[in-house]
């Protein structure tokens, strides 16, 4: 092989012309925003199945009267409660946080490409603030600073903890969706802007009728990527005592006498149920990414 190699094969191709690039699934260049999703999607289905089997055959840690068998029958009795009262709450929180985050993020993302420098700078500042703050800090602030009920005259609107958790989690989602929107708009070739300008479209018309429809498809995979990440982050709320799967798991273990033998079955169940929910999303995300990849 020659020292220089063959461009495009042995070394990266260098050209500024628009060329058709192959999809780069490992994203050798730059950090991969899909890291977590790709990792999740790459887990073969037999791994959690095997994990469940290993957990089931967990050797006895000590010569205790409370056996693993007891632990599993305890888990079995709690299964329904944990799933319906705990996990459904995680799904509910992720669902609402995603909905609010998406709407606010779309507005914020469009504000970032505004022609008004004031709006642009403010949007950029908000985005970077919430994108780079630890999620737990945002959760703490919202949960502790927000009132538990809003009183308007005689009307009392209660604000339950899980609703505050929704608000707390929707803030970082908002910022990340804003980046997706901005990135998607910028990924549309500038020729599209120029062409629509030559056809006397206004900026708003260009954005709504020409640019955004092209963005929509390519925003779906990163949007789903963030949904999977968000769902996996909802157990954070348990640190604040919001009644979700992990909080209830802990309470269930307490109720069953806090035997250490309970740890593996109960937390293992939490792991499996999150996997079962997020895995199809991750697989679909990676597939859609392949299909909608910008080949320019």
């Amino acid at each position: 092989m020659s020292a220089r190699g063959i461009p495009g094969i042995a070394r990266p191709a260098t050209t500024d012309l628009p060329v058709l690039l192959p999809i780069d699934p490992v994203k050798a260049s730059g950090p991969d925003p899909y890291l977590l999703t790709r990792w999740l999607a790459n887990i073969p289905l037999w791994v959690p199945a095997l994990l469940a089997l290993v957990v089931g055959l967990w050797p006895l840690a000590a010569q205790a009267a409370f056996t693993t068998g007891d632990a599993f029958s305890t888990l079995y009795r709690w299964l329904w409660f944990l799933t319906t009262k705990g996990f459904l709450f995680n799904v509910l929180i992720s669902f609402f946080a995603m909905a609010i985050g998406t709407v606010l993020g779309a507005v914020l993302g469009l504000a970032q490409i505004s022609l008004n420098p004031g709006v642009r700078m403010a949007a950029k500042f908000i985005t970077q603030t919430f994108r780079n703050s630890p999620w737990l800090v945002l959760l703490y602030i919202v949960l502790l600073a927000f009132p538990f009920e809003i009183v308007i005259g005689d009307l009392i609107i209660p604000v339950p903890d899980w609703m505050k958790a929704v608000i707390g989690l929707s803030l970082p989602i908002m910022a990340n969706i804003a980046e997706i929107v901005r990135g998607a708009v910028q990924s549309v070739p500038t020729a599209q802007w120029e062409a629509s300008e030559s056809l006397a479209f206004t900026r708003t018309q260009t954005l709504w009728r020409i640019i955004l429809p092209q963005c929509f498809k390519r925003m779906i995979p990163p949007w789903m990527n963030w949904y999977a990440i968000l769902t996996m982050a909802t157990p954070l709320c348990s640190l604040l005592g919001v009644e979700e799967l992990l909080t209830l798991t802990r309470q269930a273990m307490e109720s069953a006498g806090n035997q250490p033998e309970l740890l593996v079955p109960f937390y293992g169940f939490a792991l499996l149920i999150f996997f079962a929910y997020c895995y199809p999303i991750a697989r679909l995300t990676v597939r859609l990414e392949r299909r909608f990849a910008v080949k320019l």
Binding site: A61, A62, A64, A65, F66, R77, W78, F81, K85, L144, P147, F148, E149, L239, L240, G241, E243, L248, R250, Q251, A252, M253, E254, S255, G257, N258, Q259, P260, L262, L263
Partner: protein
Amino acid sequence: MKKVLALSAAMLMASASIATAAQCTNDTWKKVMSRGKMVVGVKADYKPWGFRDESGNLVGMEIDMAKAAADAMGVEVELVPVQSSNRMQFLEQGKIDLMIATMSDRPDRRKIVGIVQPNYYTSGTNVMSPKALGLTKWEDLRDKPVCGKQGAFYNKIVTERYGAKVIAFTGNAEAKQALRDKKCIAWVYDDSSIGSDLSSGNWDDFEMPLSSEDDNPWGLAVPLAEKDCVFGNFMSGLSYNWLQNGQLIEWEKKWGIKATSFLADKKERFKDWLDK
């Protein structure tokens, strides 16, 4: 001169009564009464004082207390699970009207919430450790890793007084697993809880070797502003009755808690002088 004195005394009394009236707005009491529902903060992770049964309902000794209190006031009860780290904030904010959540009655806590007298229960600090270690005194913990639970006030005490290195876990199961895994030499917790663990038969190689320290009565709490007003006085009277007529001892029996001398002593002390 007498007239002036009488006048100033009258004025003083008038102003004093106004001051009392101004202090006691009885907001919480009125709120509970007007909506016909009392919101009580209880534990959901402290068996058998407050925990969940298998269908998810909150049950336990303190839940019985909360229900009895609401019954006595003639209102419905709503139970809100609280944690050691947020229960006092909930009461301050008004999110809960009353708190019965295994809270030790500490001087610093009395500045934040209205802890009602008399106290209804007590527990001391002790450790569970392997028999093989043969701990005999608290000093044995110095510079050794000790497992604890986040939010417990004695974590700080064993660190400062005995130089133990406390590793705090979010749940008891995790802490006990760490003890079994020999990540720490002892598990510091309430003696009543450790006692029931040891009697379960799953901890045969472990013991509670030290003498319990900081025996600390538990208090139920109302908002600070209500402490010397209707609500606080009502709960005071109710607690007194529970101690006096043995209701608390009955609950203790019902929930299988090891009988404490605290409740028996209180029953004896508050005994009706006409009962022979």
